[in-house]
């Protein structure tokens, strides 16, 4: 019984993710794409919870929904005539892209089905993955961690530099 409920939740989240990801890609209205991306992100966060990755599920919410999605929404609203409800956009070179993707999907599915996965889930389900991740970040991965912080700082300064209006030169 216990396992069945988890199965139901998985299928529900999978349907949410598949449907919303399809809307992101194929909707002609950019804001529909942006808002359905919200449901993709939340659905993926739910899948992380099912996979016992609680820290990353919450980080997914903070980073993707709270940060990236809102940035994208601002991007859409600043670069389109938003007072007109239908913000439309077209597609180009559909056929070659679909063929290419079909080939890639075939390769991926082939790899997934013909590999013998040696699954060995840990016996003890941890109450939280945060301590393990924290230990890893502060010991074995300390250099990438520090580099990541520098990357974020540089990205922040760079984004502010690029996006600001160049007032100095004009006046």
């Amino acid at each position: 019984m216990n396992i069945e409920l988890i199965d139901i939740i998985f299928y529900f989240l999978a349907i949410v993710v598949i449907a919303s990801a399809s809307v992101v890609v194929f909707s002609r209205n950019i804001l529909y794409s942006a808002f359905s991306l919200l449901f993709t992100f939340v659905g993926v966060a739910g899948l992380y919870v099912l996979l016992t990755a609680d820290f990353l599920a919450i980080t997914q919410l903070v980073v993707y929904v709270g940060g990236i999605l809102v940035l994208i929404l601002f991007g859409v609203m600043l670069t389109n005539n938003v007072f007109n409800v239908d913000i439309k956009t077209g597609s180009i070179k559909t056929l070659p892209a679909l063929v290419l993707t079909a080939v890639m999907a075939g390769v991926l599915c082939g790899i997934f089905f013909f590999t013998q996965w040696t699954v060995r889930p840990s016996e003890v389900v941890p109450t939280s993955t945060a301590p393990a991740i924290g230990m890893a970040l502060m010991t074995g991965y300390i250099l990438p961690f520090e580099v990541a912080s520098v990357v974020l700082l540089v990205a922040m300064i760079g984004a502010a530099m690029i996006a600001r209006r160049d007032t100095g030169k004009q006046n």
Binding site: G67, G75, I92, L100, V119, T129, R165
Partner: protein, 100 residues
Amino acid sequence: MISIEYYLLLSAFMFCAGVVGVLVRRNAIVVFMCIELMLNAVNLTLITFSAYFGDPRGQVLVFFVMVVAAAEAAVGLAIVIALFRNKLTVNIDEINILKW
């Protein structure tokens, strides 16, 4: 328990959807969203492996992917907005000033 292939198939679907979007769509911001979709698919794969193989290192890698995604979103959208200011369009086939 759900077998590992289900999660992998789901992330494969997300990744392929992202690829289609990047190749097909004209609007730079939609292309951007599709890149985020692909990054999410990769993250899902990493966490699946991490959970099914009982190894937390996969989750550390996801953490770094998120850092890169955040940095990419900030700089990428700044570039899109700067482009829009100069060309008044964000359609990638009309932004061709670097073409000879």
